[in-house]
C-alpha cells in the first residue's frame, strides 16, 4: 500500500530514463521518525525505479554522520538527500560532494549553504507559534508553562521554542514561562522526570510546550499517572503512535508533526528533478510556487532574504483526539 499519497504527483516527474542512485542520510538510524522517512524513501525507489536507500549513524553524532556522507561520496552516488544532525558540521563535506557533481538536497536545515536545495516542511518560528496558540487555548490564556528541548544544541527545536515564547509574549500577556527551557536528551523518561521536578519546584505550572517528540510520551505519562488531566496541558511535537493513547484517553489534547515520509519523498523527488535537468542540460525550474504534488508541498515558498535555495512547504499537521485515526504511524 502507498504510504505517501502520489495521486497528485505529475507522472512525468517520476519517470526517468537513467537509473540514479540517491542516498538519504538522516541524523540517526532507527528512531520512529526516520523509520517513517525510510518508508517514503523506499516508496520513491519503487515508484520511480531508481536506487534509493537511507542510512544514518547508529548514534546521534555529527562526526559519524559526516563520515557516512564521505563514504557515500566515495561510492559515487548521484544524489544525497540529507537531514543534518548539525548543519555547520556537514557544510564542508557537502561542499566536497557538490564539487564532485553530486546533487545535494537537505531538510530541516534552513541555514545551510552547500546544497542545491533545502526543503523545509514549514517555518520553524511559525510552527512554535502554532503550538503556543494551541496551548494558550487549552490553558485559557493564563498561567505558567514550561518548554522542553531534546538538546540545547538542536537548532530547529530551539527555534520552535523561540517561536512559541515569542508568540506568548506578544499575544498572551497573562501567561508566563515558569523556568528556563528544560533539556531532556530526547528521552521520554527524562522528560517525565524533569517535568515532574519542575512541577515540584513550581507547583503552579499549568502547561507544557514540547519540542522533542518524546516529550509527548513523557508528559502524557506524567499527566495520566498523577491524575493531572485538566490541570496540566500539553501542546508539542508528537506522533500518533507515540502519544495517540494519551490523546484518546484525554491526558493530552494536542500534538503536532509533519510527515517524515512525505519529507523524504519530497527530497528525493527534488533530487531526481535536478538530476534529470542536469542530464538534459537545462534548469530544473524549482523555485517559488513549485508544486511537487505531495501533500503540504504543493506551493513551495522561497525563504525571505538571500538564501534562494531554501523552500518552505505549507505546514504541519495538528492532531487531536478527533483526527488521530487518520494517521497510523
Amino acid at each position: 500500500q502507498q504510504i505517501v499519497n502520489i495521486d497528485n504527483v505529475d507522472p512525468e516527474a517520476l519517470a526517468s530514463e537513467e537509473e540514479y542512485s540517491i542516498a538519504t542520510v538522516v541524523k540517526v538510524d532507527g528512531i520512529a521518525w526516520f523509520d517513517r522517512m525510510r518508508d517514503g524513501v523506499k516508496q520513491f525507489g519503487e515508484d520511480t525505479g531508481n536506487d534509493t536507500w537511507m542510512v544514518g549513524p547508529s548514534q546521534a553524532d555529527a562526526a559519524a554522520q559526516v563520515q557516512l556522507i564521505e563514504n557515500l561520496i566515495a561510492q559515487g552516488v548521484d544524489a544525497i538527500a540529507v537531514v543534518p544532525f548539525s548543519v555547520e558540521a556537514v557544510e564542508p563535506v557537502l561542499k566536497k560532494a557538490r564539487d564532485r557533481g553530486i546533487v545535494v538536497v537537505s531538510h530541516e536545515a534552513s541555514n545551510i549553504t552547500n546544497v542545491d536545495y533545502d526543503i523545509e516542511a514549514f517555518d520553524n518560528l511559525a510552527y512554535g507559534a502554532e503550538l503556543m496558540d494551541n496551548l494558550a487555548a487549552q490553558m485559557g490564556e493564563t498561567g505558567k508553562y514550561v518548554a522542553t528541548v531534546g538538546s540545547l544544541t538542536s537548532k530547529s527545536q530551539n527555534e520552535w521554542i523561540d517561536g512559541a515564547i515569542a508568540r506568548q509574549e506578544e499575544a498572551y500577556p497573562d501567561m508566563s514561562l515558569a523556568t528556563e527551557r528544560l533539556e531532556t536528551y530526547d528521552d521520554a523518561n527524562t522528560d517525565y522526570t524533569k517535568l515532574k521536578e519542575a512541577l515540584t519546584a513550581h507547583p503552579d505550572i499549568a502547561g507544557v510546550v514540547g519540542g522533542p517528540m518524546p516529550t509527548s510520551a513523557g508528559a502524557g505519562r506524567l499527566i495520566a499517572e498523577s491524575g493531572l488531566q485538566g490541570q496540566l496541558h500539553f501542546a508539542g511535537t508528537g506522533l500518533p503512535s507515540v502519544a495517540g493513547q494519551y490523546l484518546s484517553n484525554g491526558d493530552i489534547d494536542y500534538i503536532q508533526f509533519w510527515d517524515p515520509a512525505v519529507a523524504g519523498y519530497a527530497m528525493n523527488l527534488i533530487a531526481l528533478k535536478e538530476l534529470k535537468a542536469r542530464a538534459a542540460g537545462e534548469d530544473a525550474g524549482i523555485g517559488a510556487g513549485t508544486d511537487l504534488g505531495l501533500e503540504g508541498y504543493t506551493d513551495l515558498q522561497l525563504a525571505e532574504g538571500a538564501n534562494a535555495k531554501v523552500l518552505y512547504g505549507a505546514g504541519w499537521v495538528g492532531v487531536t483526539k478527533d483526527n488521530m485515526a487518520d494517521y497510523d504511524f
Binding site: 538510524d29 532507527g30 536507500w53 542510512v55 544514518g56 549513524p57 547508529s58 548514534q59 546521534a60 553524532d61 555529527a62 562526526a63 559519524a64 559526516v66 563520515q67 557516512l68 564521505e70 563514504n71 561520496i73 566515495a74 561510492q75 559515487g76 548539525s86 548543519v87 555547520e88 558540521a89 556537514v90 557544510e91 564542508p92 563535506v93 566536497k96 564532485r100 538538546s151 540545547l152 544544541t153 538542536s154 537548532k155 530551539n158
Partner: protein
C-alpha cells in the same frame, strides 16, 4: 623478532622499539588489515578502491586516531580518560570563541595566520589545562581515573554549553579550515599531522625517559615509587599529554567541519577505548604502543567503510566492531596457549 623485522619497512628502529608480545599483536593486526582490504575490494571493487575513498579516510580517520592514542597514553599508567571528547570540543569551542572575539563584527573568516596560530595555542592550552585538572584529581586527590574523568568530562561538555549556549560556533578562519581540509604536497594535512603525532609519540614512548617511566608506573606503581619515579608528577604529565592530544583532535574536528559544538564526536569515546585496546594496550597499565593503535584504527575504518558500501545497517557495523574485538582477544589467547 626476525619475522617482525622483515615485515616492518623501517626495520631496525622499529624492531628495537617493539617488545615481543607487542610485535606479535601488531603482526596479527597488520594481517587483519590486509585481509579486510582484500575482502572488501573483492566485494565492492570499484567503490572501495576508489582514490576518493582512501582520501576521505585520510581526512576523517586522524581525529579518531589521535583520540585513541590519547586513550592509550592514559591507559599506560593503568588509568583511563573518559573526558577526551569533552576536551576536544572544549578546545575547538574555545578557539572559535576566541576567533569571534578577535574578529568582532567582520566575521572570523577574514582572520589571518597570526590569529589562527593563536587559536591553535589556545586550544592546546585548554587541552593541557584540562589534563592538568584530571591529573590533579587522580594523582593528588587519588580519585579513581574512571570517576575523575567521567566527572570532568561532564564539566567540560557543560562548559562547552555555557560558552556556546548550545548552538554550534561557526565561521572559522580560512587558515583554521586548511588544517582540517587542506593538502600539502598532495597529502591531506590531517593525515600528515597524524603521522607526525604517531612518530613523535612512538619515539616518546619507546626512546625517552618519559615513556619508560610511564610504562614502569603502569607495570608496578609501588615499585615505581620505590625506584624514585615521581609517580604523581608523571601521572599529571601523562594526563596533560592526553589532554593535549585530545585538544589536537578537537582542532582537527572543528577545522574539518568548520564548526564547533558541545556534542560533536560523542560516538568517538567508546570507539577510542575499543581501538586502543584492540591495538594491544593493556588497560591495566604498562603496555601499549602507537603502531598497534594505528593498525587497529586502520583495520576498523576499512571494515566499516566496506560494510557501509555494502549498505549494511550501521548497527550491524557496531556488532562487527564488537565481534572483532572479541575475535582478536580469542586469537591472542589461543596463540598464548599454543606457545605455552
Amino acid at each position: 623478532m626476525t619475522s617482525q623485522t622483515k615485515s616492518e619497512p623501517r626495520g631496525s628502529i622499529l624492531s628495537g622499539m617493539l617488545s615481543d608480545e607487542t610485535a606479535r599483536t601488531n603482526l596479527l593486526l597488520g594481517a587483519i588489515c590486509i585481509v579486510v582490504l582484500v575482502a572488501m575490494t573483492a566485494m565492492r571493487p570499484n567503490m572501495f578502491l576508489s582514490s576518493y575513498n582512501f582520501e576521505s579516510m585520510a581526512f576523517f580517520m586522524p581525529e579518531l586516531g589521535i583520540l585513541s592514542i590519547a586513550m592509550m597514553i592514559a591507559m599506560l599508567t593503568g588509568g583511563i580518560d573518559l573526558s577526551i571528547v569533552g576536551v576536544a570540543n572544549l578546545a575547538g569551542i574555545t578557539a572559535g570563541t576566541l576567533f569571534g572575539m578577535m574578529a568582532g563584527e567582520n566575521g572570523s573568516s577574514v582572520l589571518g595566520l597570526g590569529p589562527v596560530a593563536l587559536g591553535v595555542c589556545a586550544a592546546l592550552v585548554v587541552g593541557l589545562l584540562a589534563g592538568l585538572l584530571n591529573g590533579f584529581l587522580i594523582s593528588v586527590l587519588k580519585i579513581t581515573p574512571i570517576l575523575a574523568t567521567l566527572g570532568t568530562g561532564q564539566v567540560f561538555i557543560g562548559l562547552c554549553l555555557v560558552l556556546t549556549g548550545g548552538p554550534a560556533i561557526v565561521g572559522f578562519p580560512a587558515g583554521w579550515n586548511a588544517i582540517g581540509n587542506g593538502k600539502i604536497a598532495g597529502l591531506p594535512v590531517p593525515l600528515l599531522l597524524f603521522v607526525v603525532i604517531c612518530v613523535g609519540l612512538s619515539l616518546l614512548l619507546a626512546r625517552t625517559s618519559f615513556g619508560l617511566r610511564l610504562k614502569m608506573i603502569g607495570t608496578n606503581p609501588k615499585a615505581a615509587v620505590y625506584a624514585g619515579v615521581r609517580r604523581g608528577q608523571m601521572i599529571v604529565w601523562s594526563y596533560m599529554l592526553t589532554g593535549g592530544l585530545a585538544a589536537m583532535a578537537g582542532i582537527l574536528l572543528s577545522a574539518r567541519t568548520n564548526a564547533a559544538k558541545s556534542d560533536y564526536g560523542s560516538s568517538y569515546l567508546l570507539q577510542a577505548v575499543l581501538i586502543a585496546v584492540l591495538g594491544g594496550t593493556n588497560p591495566a597499565g604498562g603496555r601499549g604502543n602507537v603502531i598497534g593503535v594505528a593498525l587497529a584504527l586502520i583495520s576498523l575504518t576499512l571494515l566499516s567503510s566496506g560494510f557501509q558500501m555494502m549498505r549494511l545497517s550501521n548497527h550491524l557495523i557496531d556488532f562487527v566492531w564488537g565481534g572483532f574485538l572479541i575475535l582478536v582477544i580469542a586469537l591472542n589467547s589461543w596463540r598464548r596457549h599454543r606457545r605455552a
